[in-house]
Symmetry: C2
Subunit: 414 residues, 2 copies
């Protein structure tokens, strides 16, 4: 049986709206992939009374049903970090300092110089956890996480609020513990990406017609992103899952993919191919995406940000006449950009992007959202693709960069 | 007296982590600027039982203290929109259709053609509100918002979940009502940024020593970001606020700034100056940041992504000897990069970034996080700054790009 799951985040910066809580959604998403649904998110300011009262409610609820409460934040070194103190009040326990964490903290602070060394005693509290609880090591930051029991089959998990620390702790330390605490039937999951299609259209064209056949015994979920939707299917019946994916591939042969970012990264490494970019409207976003993964220096050698027409002409050797005749946002210029790029860099793949990110600069023939992407493949072929992306400036730039990577994916697949 | 404020958002896409709730934070931020603090955010799936039970808790709480609950979502036309139904159950009232909204909806749907006209009856429910409540017109979409009384000085506000509809309704319709329902004194606010300083150090060095003098009559809050912390101060006493800012400037003369992104954008436009970039470890992130604002094409002309040493040498004319002698991540190479850059582009400002974003590639002399940033100012001066940024790959790249913009800010200020 699944526990009643609540995700609790604390931080006055959240309830003041100065910062957006991305932790709760991320955790819910991870739990969904494990087959669990969340009943409630709660966000509280750094106020020990409010936090304690909420934890007491959860403790009461745990008398009726198994509860899993996952809490983030409030484990830091400052006076407004109340999580440990509140949990101790709740359980009546004492706390102790985790020796390993204390040594690690000392080493880190000493390496930062004297002013940090001086405040060391005031930050040791981050290494304390309630006695007798299960600890969760922090391999990114300092604060130690822990799992406390709050009733029969009921647990309170406390993790730091810093996303990079929390996500690492969740995946490496917490998930194995959760699987022990709440064992369940093995759930299979498959994920596919569909490009440049809306969520409602997908639901209408794929989910509805297949509802009776597939979705009595399987769950589905969609995450909409810039340029693609991620479709997640889950079932304990693995054969059914394969049938669903086959139907999906038959329905959308041209726009379906796996995780493009991961695939392109791995394939470039594996085939020892190189890539370079020439970006106009995205201003560097594609290059940034191509260098997100460690090891990207094996394939990404660099590129040109040609935001102005002069830069397109000077750096990539595009005749001003071409730009003036067809416009900077045109198939012709995208082709010339990627051609000039690969002549300069000599890479196997080349990508060029030129478009109108808006909000100004649109025209009836080329409205805001018009983007031309050129791709040069390792065999020397150049093709150019024109799109009209929806949304605002940020959305159009994200769409364009993601779609460019999809074109590299397709080139590998064909 | 301020009410106990709760923000409630509903939507199964939120609790499954497929979509991030930006409404609650936005509302909290607006309320914070009006001088109100939010006690709690709650997010629930589209489950009428869970929603009703939460509203009943709020109704009970309202017997003890004035409550203001602001709820978004669940007012749409589909079967999983439960807000109105749940509120009617809570109060035992009936509902009626707001005539003005009904006429508006009919006009909009009729203009969209036959298939929309046919489904018109099924969407009328969006025009219904509880009898006797205060209605909130929707000038962007269709669903009508409302304010229901749930106890003495206690109110439940229901608004649509679509951000563009909600924000417009909040600002135009709700704020005037709130000011009538909960009158209070005028609050002033000032924000400053501090660079490359941790939150705990700031609290130790500034808040603690000034607590008695300043923070009995003023509120403070800190948002930590990559490279900077944003410090917000609020008070009804405007003179006190100016004194606090003056003390802050005296304490941190070298690392204080206003909103760097906005300032750099406006100043480049105003002084008609141009800028270009040469990025290594950030892979395009700085260019992306410089082109986030519409109108950036007036000053950002482009740049070079020189990820590999060959690109640094070929595109920017840096002798391979310099790279081999000092290493690609060095003050010498950062200087040669920005010098080569501005020779090629002829811009007023030039920025170069070269660093070790990790997780591999660090050494005892140059650990992961070492970043050298070169800046060429309009007067031709070149300076190079070396940093050791904390965190993971993403964090180091964000830090480096933000700090580069801070250097431009400082150049303008000096």
């Amino acid at each position: 049986m699944s526990p009643y799951i609540v995700i609790l985040s604390t931080g006055s910066e959240l309830t003041a709206g100065r910062s957006v809580d991305t932790n709760s959604g991320w955790i819910a998403n991870q739990l969904f992939e494990l087959g669990w649904k969340v009943k409630k998110f709660i966000t509280l300011p750094d106020d020990p009374k409010l936090i304690l009262s909420e934890l007491q409610s959860l403790q009461s609820l745990a008398k009726e049903t198994p509860v899993l409460a996952i809490m983030t934040g409030g484990l830091g070194p400052t006076e407004d970090d109340y999580t440990l103190e509140t949990v101790l009040k709740l359980t009546g326990k004492t706390s102790y300092s985790v020796e390993k964490a204390k040594l690690r903290l000392t080493k880190i602070y000493e390496s930062r110089g004297k002013e940090y060394k001086d405040i060391l005693p005031s930050v040791f509290r981050q290494t304390f956890v309630p006695e007798g609880c299960k600890t969760l090591d922090n391999s990114v930051g300092i604060a130690v996480g822990f799992i406390e029991t709050i009733g029969e089959k009921s647990h309170l998990v406390c993790m730091p609020g810093v996303p990079s620390e929390m996500t690492e702790m969740f995946k490496r330390r917490l998930v194995p513990e959760l699987k022990k605490l709440y064992p369940r039937e093995n759930l299979h999951q498959k994920t596919k990406w569909l490009w440049n299609i809306g969520e409602s259209l997908f639901q209408n064209d794929f989910i509805e017609p297949n509802r009776d056949e597939f979705f009595q015994e399987a769950e589905w979920g969609v995450t909409a992103n810039r340029g693609y939707i991620k479709c997640i299917f889950q079932s304990t019946n693995e054969t059914l899952l394969s049938t669903i994916i086959q139907r999906l591939e038959d329905t959308y042969p041209k726009i379906i993919s796996d995780d493009v970012f991961q695939f392109v990264h791995e394939q470039l490494l594996k085939e020892k191919l190189t890539i370079s970019v020439a970006e106009s409207c995205t201003g560097g976003l594609l290059g940034k995406k191509l260098t997100e993964q460690p090891g990207s220096s094996s394939y990404f050698i660099g590129g040109f940000l040609t935001y102005s027409n002069e830069m397109k002409s000077n750096l990539l050797g595009i005749p001003m006449e071409t730009i003036n005749t067809y416009g900077a946002v045109s198939e012709e210029v995208a082709r010339a950009m990627v051609d000039g790029l690969c002549r300069k860099t000599g890479t196997d793949f080349g990508i060029s992007i030129t478009g109108i990110a808006g909000p100004e600069g649109g025209s009836p023939e080329k409205p805001v959202g018009t983007v031309c992407i050129g791709i040069r493949e390792p065999n020397g072929n150049i093709s150019v693709h024109r799109y009209l992306f929806p949304g605002n400036r940020e959305s159009i730039r994200e769409n364009a960069s993601n779609t460019a990577l999809f074109l590299v994916y397709q080139s590998f697949k064909n």
